[in-house]
Structure formats: structure tokens, C-alpha cells
């Protein structure tokens, strides 16, 4: 579904990721692990179009999207839940949800939209209860759920998740991972970036290890879980 070949992307002059190749099969969960500053977020931003300076190829559903702008890429079916819960903090929860479906806001879609909002609230009941609260006043876990819910409103085929567990209590992390698995079972393909390597490797089928901008290791997640280098560097020995 997503095929990346020799992708290099830069912020200023210096590339933050170099010569990355990666494949995400339709219906799968793929994880990327790596230390701080390895370039994980940069890779996701390059895929979703937030970074323009890049070379190589990014093929999604058979088409090269490397030159497309972020808003067009969303329309193609890739939603990116960016690092640090980039919600619209000064707006109400329901406004965030509505904006998630920005591309579907035409009159003839009204009914469908309402139905979709209902489904998302069903998946995240806490958001339904707090739909009129200002998003910035939600708890950290609720904000992360809102960020995911908003991304789902665009009906992605591929969901890019950047550290969904960051700063959350273990119980909440458990909830979030359960939701990710449920989304996957419902047919959404997932590319997951995580600091929490153990959890990320448990739910993924395949995984990549990123170090200082380059892919250094890849393999079935179960194999990486027992790999001595991965154990030493990312799983705490």
C-alpha cells in the first residue's frame, strides 16, 4: 500500500533522514523504533507532505505522492496524527472533530457525516461526553484520543501515528494500543512510531529500526523483539 524508496528529506541544508526504503502492506501494522532525534517524526512528516524538501519516491496505492501537498495527501487517504497532539486547543472538541472531516463537508454528505461522527464518539465515549469542552482543557490522554479521532474523521486508509503513548499513564497507553489494534482489525493500515518499543513491537507484524537518519535494521516484529542489538538499545537489556 505504501512503498518508500531511497527517501531523503531535509529541514534546512542537512538531510534529517537519508536513503530510507520501507514498505507497509495493506491491512498491516508496521512499527518504526529509534532513539530521540533519529528522524522518526521527520519520516512521517515527509510521507504526509509536511516536509517539502525531499527526493526519492513515495508510492501510495500505486501513485507517486512525493510532490503532493499535505492537504492533497490527506484526500488520498493518509492521515497523520502528529507528535505532541496537534489538536486545535482553543476550539471545542466537536469543532476539532468537524474539522477532521473538512474534506467531507458538503451538504449532500451531511447525513453520512453525522453517522460517522456518531461512530467515532462510540469508539471514544469520553469525547462524546465532552464534545462541548474546549479541547485544550482535556487531559493528556483525552487529547491524544481526540487527535486520533480527528484523524479518523478523514477516513484514512493509512494512519500514521507518531508516539501516541507519549506522556500517558500505563493504563491509558494500554487503551490507546487497544484502539489501534481495533482500528487495524476494522481495515485501517497503520504505520506506528513509538518510543515504547516493546509495546510497538508487540502489536506490529513488521518493524524497522531508525538510527541517525538511516534504517539500520528491519524484520518481523517478533524477531526484532528477541534481537540482541534491539534488546540492548531499545528494550532496556
Amino acid at each position: 500500500m505504501l512503498e518508500i524508496r531511497n527517501l531523503t528529506a531535509a529541514y534546512a541544508a542537512i538531510p534529517a533522514i537519508r536513503d530510507i526504503s520501507l514498505t507497509v502492506p495493506e491491512g498491516g501494522i508496521v512499527s518504526i523504533i529509534g532513539a530521540n532525534g533519529a528522524g522518526k517524526s521527520t519520516l512521517l512528516k515527509a510521507i504526509s507532505g509536511l516536509i517539502q524538501k525531499k527526493s526519492g519516491s513515495i508510492r501510495f496505492a500505486g501513485q507517486d505522492i512525493i510532490c503532493e501537498r499535505a492537504n492533497r495527501i490527506v484526500a488520498r487517504g493518509i492521515s497523520h496524527v502528529a507528535e505532541g497532539r496537534q489538536i486545535f486547543a482553543h476550539m471545542k472538541v466537536e469543532d476539532n472533530i468537524h474539522l477532521g472531516a473538512y474534506l467531507y463537508h458538503r451538504r449532500r454528505h451531511r447525513q453520512e457525516l453525522q453517522e460517522h461522527i456518531r461512530q467515532v464518539y462510540e469508539m471514544f465515549p469520553v469525547l462524546g461526553r465532552r464534545s462541548r469542552q474546549i479541547a485544550g482543557t482535556l487531559s493528556g490522554g483525552e487529547q491524544q484520543m481526540l487527535a486520533i479521532a480527528r484523524a479518523l474523521m478523514a477516513r484514512p486508509k493509512l494512519l500514521l501515528l507518531d508516539e501516541p503513548s507519549m506522556g500517558l499513564a500505563p493504563l491509558v497507553v494500554h487503551d490507546i494500543f487497544a484502539i489501534i489494534q481495533r482500528l487495524n482489525q476494522m481495515g485501517t493500515t497503520i504505520l506506528l512510531v513509538e518510543q515504547n518499543a516493546r509495546a510497538a513491537l508487540r502489536i506490529a507484524a513488521y518493524a524497522y529500526v531508525l538510527e541517525t537518519g538511516q534504517m539500520v535494521l528491519e524484520g518481523p516484529a517478533a524477531t526484532l523483539l528477541t534481537d540482541s542489538r534491539v534488546k540492548a538499545a531499545y528494550l532496556g537489556g
Partner: protein, 300 residues
Amino acid sequence: MNMASLAGQLLQYIVTGVTIGSIYAMVAIGFNIIYNVTEIINLAQGEFVMLGGLVMVSLHMLWKLPLIAAFPVTVVIVTGIGLLMNYAAIRPIRRPTVLTLIIATIAASMIIKGAAMLIWGTDSFDLTAFSGRTPILIAGAAIQPQYFWVIGFLVVIVAGLTFFFDKTIIGKAMSACSENAAAAQLVGIDVRWMVLLSFALSAAIGAIAGITMTPIALMDYDRGAMLAIKGFGAAVLGGLGSFPGAIVGGLMMGLIESLGAGFLWSGYKDAYALAALLIVLFIRPSGIMGNRDVIRFKRF
């Protein structure tokens, strides 16, 4: 001077101040719309007002279009110029920073002003007042009917924008861009289109300000800069980016100017409001309604 006539005079100055202030508020709202989406201070905002007045004068006085037709046509023309400015001066900049973009708006304002001088010359033009010029006498004050038109249009603009930003998805998308441009793109909002829309809205509001003020204050090619300064002052006074702030700031600037000119020396009328602005900024740098977290001069 007896009490009655003093009260009448006070009322006169207050109504005049609110009217001038409404114009400043419209200019300030124009500043805020573009600022919120792009962080640019569009220093050509005053030229939109000038163009609104002069285009209207040409359409109505020269080409004899009735007011009710000339009004929307003027707004459309000035909006077009706002869009053109976005395409010609803002988009082509290859490495946009807030500072280069602001300089581009200064260049645009000079070009617009120069073109206006070529077209209309250096004369001041008058425009027919919408409901005549017979003053309405209220409690010893003689009030021009046009004043009510100006204040009324401010109310209409504010109501329209409130509806737009609170109730429509495009309006919310525009607020989303101002809050977090990256996140806005990630839900599929075309930020470039929103920037374009912000220029269109600001130009349209500027045009309305120009059209409604011309019957009171005349209009010439050289008025843009002072209007921009006062409007910018109003926006900063109220808190840059805040719409309620723009209204409060605009009305305060207008009232201070009018009362200062009326009761003190009229020669310093431009100084009073700007002095008040400085004082407020010393006490409260974020402006009256500004949110300290939201002042975002971060990229300077």
C-alpha cells in the same frame, strides 16, 4: 457656556468619535484577519480603504451607477485587487519569512498608492451621502445621517464575521489555520487558499470602510498610510489578533481622537490616540483584550 450646550457638545464628540472609531475598527479587523492566518501585518490595509472610497466615487459620481449598485461593485473590485496583491506580491516570495512578507506588503502599498495617484490625481473627492446631509438633532448635537451608516456597517461586519467564524466550516478552517497551520494541513485544509481568502476578506472590509467614510471625510490617494497607522494602532491597542479587541481598540482610538481634538487642541488630533496607545502598551504589552500566550512575534 451653559450646561446644556456642553452636554450637547460632548454628545457630538462622542458620536463623532464612535464613527471615526468604527472606521478604525474595520481597518483593525482587516489587519487581524490576515495576521491570524499568516502572522503578516499587511501594511497595504489602508490602501484598500483608500481604493474603496475612490473606486466608489468614480463609479457613482462619474459613471452614474446608483449607490446601491456601485457599493457591491466597488467591494468586488477592491477584493479583486486584494487577491491580485496576494498573487503578485505574497506568493512569489520564495523563502517567505514574516519580515520579508511585511516588506512585500509595504511595496504593494506604494504601488497601489502610486497607481491611485495616476488614476485619480491628487484631488480630494466627495461622495453623495447615503441618506442625505440633513443633520439629525439629538439633545443639542447635530448628527450626520452618514454616521449611522458607518456604525451600522461595523455592526453588520461584526455580525457577519461572527457567524462566519463560529458557524461555518470554512470559517472554522480559517481559525484552525491561525491556530496550527501544520495541523490544519493534516486535516486537508489548503492553507494557501485560506491565505487568499484572508486577503479577500480584509480587502472587502477595507473597501466598505472606505466607501462609508468618504461622504464624511472625503478621500484622496494619500490617505492609506494614516488609516493603516490608526487601524494598526487600534488592533495593537485591543490586542493583535483579537476581534473584540479590534472593536474596543478602534472605538477607543476614535473617541480619544475626537474628544482630544474637541476639548484640547485640534492640531494634535493624530497624536492623542497614538499617545494613548503607547501608554496602554507600557502597562499591558499584549493590548487590552490580547492574550499573553497568543502574542506571536516569535519569528522576528
